[in-house]
Symmetry: C2
């Protein structure tokens, strides 16, 4: 289970548990500016009683190229409404999901797990090519050719992305059905030092819209009252 401590991966974790899986969670400290998400991941892992939770330190900063790891400004508000077509968001971290899934694959090989869960959502805010179903299918095919599990007969690596076709509102409704306390989670790219979300970045805006669509208040802390 790739666990960021955000709304999506927390909901995917609860779905994996509902399906009867015993979850092992993996988070990453990759020099992200929103390190408070690691605190959220630990809270979520404890609250949802995962079997084991590992935080792996990797240095993506040497690769540069993204607002999440560089010292450039996180886009907020109206500037998010620009772009489209083949333009990808500045929130895109090069090959990030490919790297994260590769660590998950190693963790699965070592624990004997065959099922990898992610909270990846095709329609989400990131505009990244590595959030698309065809990418995830290709990743699974590759994983089954490059691991002991995949080539030893009788078993198969399965990559589960149960939120892939859900809207943010669908995800929140699913989480409410599963009694998730979303106050534990954080999605913001630019939280303040106390871990309060900004309410305006490319992660906060769709999250708040999702809660608005469902008609409930987001229980997570925000810097100021949001409109």
């Amino acid at each position: 289970m790739l666990l960021s401590g955000g709304l999506d991966s927390t909901t995917a974790l609860a779905l994996a548990k509902e399906q009867g899986f015993t979850p092992y969670a993996l988070s990453f400290d990759y020099g992200q500016r929103n390190a408070v998400e690691l605190t959220a991941a630990r809270r979520v892992a404890r609250e949802l009683a995962v079997e084991n939770h590992i935080t792996s330190t990797i240095d993506l900063r040497v690769f540069g190229g993204s607002a999440l790891t560089d010292d450039i400004e996180v886009p907020k508000g109206a500037s998010l409404d620009e772009g489209g077509g083949n333009e990808f968001s500045v929130d895109y971290v090069p090959a990030r999901n490919t790297i994260f899934l590769s660590f998950a694959l190693a963790y699965a090989e070592v624990t004997g797990a065959t099922d990898i869960f992610t909270g990846v959502n095709a329609g989400d805010y990131s505009g990244s090519p590595d959030h698309r179903p065809e990418y995830l299918d290709a990743y699974e095919a590759m994983a089954n050719l490059g691991t002991k599990t995949g080539v030893s007969g009788g078993r198969r690596i399965r990559l589960h992305s149960p939120l892939i076709h859900m809207s943010d509102a669908d995800i929140i409704r699913t989480g409410m059905r599963l009694d998730i306390d979303y106050a534990l989670t954080i999605s913001c790219y630019d939280p303040d030092p106390e871990g309060r979300a900004c309410g305006a970045c490319g992660a906060c805006r769709p999250r708040l819209k999702g809660f608005a669509d469902v008609g409930v208040a987001d229980p997570a802390p925000y810097v100021a009252e949001t409109p």
Copy 2:
């Protein structure tokens, strides 16, 4: 270019240069016991005048499961002749190539490169599923679906493994044609503190056999005279 500082990746680097590529090299400090290979990688990168050389620190030890990172004995001599079929070597590090290639993919995205070279060799000593051509083909397909380069039209990520079907002797002959000084390289899993190869492990034995097949002495330093 994935560059370990061993015989294979050094030869692949020289081939990439011969084909007219401007090489950027990537090495990993992943807690491997043979950290002297990082010294070799720096030597090779300097000698072969790569454009840039990055060493990325990643912690694979949290995943356990391999002689290269754990404190279990590196198999040597006769014990290497056992096994076969679907048994993979204890030298196998779970999903290692998948992780390494994923960092290379991120590095390619950032530098604008489209071509990734590895020294992977299908018949090599490791007995790992992630050294097979069908795995590499699947990796390339995945990479083209999960990156800006792959989905932005007109360009394509290409994964080159020019040694994939070569014997160790073929590789050494190729390197000699390209004037590689193999004294710069090290392949050993268990070198001594001065960086001299053991001559008996699962990396040294095929290397020495390759040189013997070609009929020349391996110029790299060994702990003792080898038979």
